[in-house]
Amino acid sequence: MDPMVLRALAVAVGVVVLTLIGRWWQARDGRVRPGEDHDALRRDDLDALGLDLRGASAGAVLLGSPTCTPCGQVKRVLADLATKRDGFRWVYADAADHLGLAEQHRVMRVPTLFVVDASGRILARSSGVPDVDDLERVLDGDRCDGLAA
């Protein structure tokens, strides 16, 4: 066969394979997982992040990077939640400034979100862009229902 036809076939196959990988990746992306028992953000970590939970009902910490596009989408989701819910506070931090925290909680990628209660206990976490409804369910208190999948 003509090498040009072969190359065209290779490029076409590559595009299909990459699209499938991307789709698969996106299906996993943003899944809100319940936090493990006793998993919490320590007070000094919260101080370093600048999240003050005194008088709050719940909070969230978003670890991101300056060059991350989905981080902006997560920020919009959080800002939306904060206007809808009194007592919900959130902060954004560059993951590079909190590498110790990232390591301790096995953060592999940005954006990673931790949803915590007023004491700093991790209710749920997600990597990628979470669904606002999933986060609302977490804040409403049904930690596991509908999140297990």
């Binding site: 990459l18 699209t19 990746w25 996106q26 992306d29 902006g72 590079a96 590498l99 953060v107 990628r109």
Partner: protein, 156 residues
């Protein structure tokens, strides 16, 4: 031209989130064609793409050739208001990454290392196909790995 563009509170350019994916689709088309035909025409297409990356990286996305094509298409076909907007920082960084790898590819091709050169073109093509078809943020997956390496390197 850039004066009419939207800016956020900090004065950074704000763009339609559909723009980068539209641009990535054109980039994929250009580099895919280049990879298939190769030869002088393929080289010219890679050189053009390199220039497009360079303009977007150094002059900003307001001057990006594909970004301006997108604006024309938007107006001509009345695609409606942006579903969301974002600051130009992250997509401009992606253009800079494309520029870096495309530069390597161009140098390799011009120095006769065609297999290595076209492989580098393939890398840029793969990343832009991923962005165009799914919007996956590859830089996000690598950021923490890079920062950890830098931190451990800094400690000695």
């Amino acid at each position: 031209m850039s004066r009419r563009l939207a800016r956020d509170g900090q004065g950074s350019l704000v763009i339609d989130v559909r723009g980068p994916r539209f641009g990535a689709a054109i980039t994929s088309l250009v580099l895919g064609t280049a990879l298939v035909v190769q030869g002088p025409l393929g080289l010219a297409l890679v050189a053009w793409q390199w220039l497009a990356f360079a303009i977007a990286t150094f002059a900003g996305l307001a001057w990006s050739p594909y970004g301006n094509v997108f604006r024309l298409v938007k107006r001509r076909f009345d695609l409606g208001p942006p579903p969301a907007t974002e600051t130009e920082g992250p997509p401009r960084f992606a253009q800079a990454c494309g520029f870096a790898v495309a530069s390597v590819a161009l140098v390799l091709l011009l120095s006769g290392l065609t297999v290595a050169g076209w492989s580098a073109v393939g890398v840029v093509l793969a990343l832009s196909v991923l962005l165009a078809t799914t919007g996956v943020c590859v830089g996000c997956e690598l950021y923490l790995v890079g920062q950890r390496l830098r931190a451990s390197g800094g400690r000695g």
